[in-house]
Amino acid sequence: MTTTTLLASTVAALAVGAAAAFGIGSATALSLLTQAAIYALFATGVGLLLRQNGMVSFGHALWFGSSGYAVAILLQTHAVPAEVAVLLAIGGLALLAFVLALVIVRVPGVAFGMLTLAIGQMAFLTASRVRGLTGGADGMSLDWPATLFGASVSALTRPGPMLMVAWSALVLVLLALALLLRSRFGAITEAVRDNEERARFIGIRTMLPRAAVYALSAAVTATAGVLSALNTGFVSPESLHWSLSGVALMMVVVGGTRVLWGPALGAAIYFLAKDVLGDHAQHWMAIFGSALIVVIVFAPQGLSGILLRLAGKRRAAPAPDLHAHAETSHA
């Protein structure tokens, strides 16, 4: 995809988001779509780590929940304006993730996943027990000011505008990542993922790119966490729980990581399934789990992989023989 096509797709996606945000009348539908967009961003963060580093995190809720808590605590203390609190939360957590990654990305395979799980659960337990700071198991409300980045918070958090904000964040993050990964940085991280020894031999320092991808992935997930906190006005230890990391990982597996938008597609499918199946079955997750097994077995590259394959076949298919068709029609 050329840069022009990429930019045109971004504009089109933003237009679709605006049409949905201001065209859909149902507040329930808007709320569901907003949640889907926020979780799509969360899954994009998890997917980025898998796509560029080949690493599976079972504890990315750490960054999702921590960003909400960081903003909530900063707002409670009135130490900085809300805009600075938001930027500090995302930037600070990205920095923390980078430092942490310098240690944990050295651990290979399943052990890395277990390490992320342990760190995530440590944060969950801390948030649950430090009642004075986090509200403990009850969580804490966010004391948003009247305006945020020049917009009225009460207007911003209405269903339509909130969907527009979440959707725009998702689209713009995907655009930024697509542009970044086309650069040398993208090529370097792919090289390290594919063959670390060869990458080292051609002069790539393999630890820093891995840590940078982890930090970037944490920043994307933290952005989703801030949006969730804005959407609900509340943050609780559940936002740090490993089960949430598991849900994001399921979205990634369903959507696939061959393309950047794969995990977002997985999130859309997840919320669609939740809405449709949830109306008919109490244990809809069991049905979704079965579908997940089918995807893993028959389409390990996820639904985006299937779509790409179908698109490739369509492109590769010979042009229809119009002459033959005309003859058939005449007959």
Partner: protein
């Protein structure tokens, strides 16, 4: 300026009491292809690891164009023109062919990595596969891509560790022809570790024979073929 491009001086790698390589003296002349043969476990790959800095030397020195590079790491040696391929195909499987060759060239500090990559891909007849993902290539093509990654940045010395391993006879001959042609065109010197004797004796200007970590013979292919020690230790009556 010395005549040689690469020289080892009393190189040894010992693992406790085991002398994997001991007292190896190797000289590679400018534009020369030197075959390095010997039975399995003779220390051929270990010598390549020693020259490229992948394994620390127990004793000895490695000179590149007159400069002692023994204290440098593999990447610094690569930037000084000492390149290698690996025994097992070592490519970036999920990346398109040209993208990875250009990346390798860029990391070597080449002024125009794109042109360098195109040049190398053309020489190895991979230019028509530039946009293909490496995993989708045939094995012979992957071996050539491996060679392409070693060739970017115009190295002066190329150490090839069994580049024909796993190739069919036709693919081996094809790669051997490419190797001979690009050595002449680029003026690169090649140290070729290979078990395919037809290839080694077919394209080498000189051959060195290893046994138990030591050089037992060296000379022109014809001289080496006639050497009774080599016939006894390695080539046997088939030679």
């Amino acid at each position: 300026m010395p005549d040689y491009v690469m020289q080892t001086e009393d190189v040894a790698i010992h693992y406790g009491g085991v002398k994997a390589v001991d007292g190896v003296e190797l000289t590679l002349q400018r534009g020369e292809i030197r075959g390095l043969i010997g039975p399995n476990g003779a220390g051929k790959s270990t010598v390549i690891d020693a020259i490229t800095g992948r394994r620390p030397l127990t004793r000895g020195k490695v000179h590149l164009g007159g400069e002692d590079v023994s204290a440098l790491g593999p990447v610094q040696r690569r930037r000084k023109g000492l390149s290698r391929s690996f025994q097992r195909t070592s490519i970036f499987e999920q990346m398109p062919v040209r993208k990875q060759v250009e990346l390798a060239s860029w990391k070597m500090g080449t002024a125009d990595p794109g042109a360098d990559a195109d040049d190398v891909l053309h020489e190895l007849s991979l230019d028509t596969l530039a946009d293909t993902t490496a995993a989708d290539l045939g094995y012979g093509q992957q071996r050539r891509l491996d060679l392409a990654l070693a060739l970017v940045g115009k190295p002066s010395v190329l150490l090839l560790d069994e580049p024909m391993a796993g190739l069919s006879v036709k693919e081996s001959l094809d790669l051997a022809q490419h190797l001979k042609a690009l050595t002449a065109r680029r003026g690169v010197s090649v140290l070729l570790v290979e078990h395919d004797m037809d290839v080694v004796f077919g394209i080498s200007d000189a051959v060195t024979v290893f046994e138990l970590g030591r050089v037992i013979a060296a000379g022109s292919p014809a001289e080496v073929r006639r050497d009774p020690r080599v016939r006894e230790a390695y080539l046997g009556s088939a030679a």
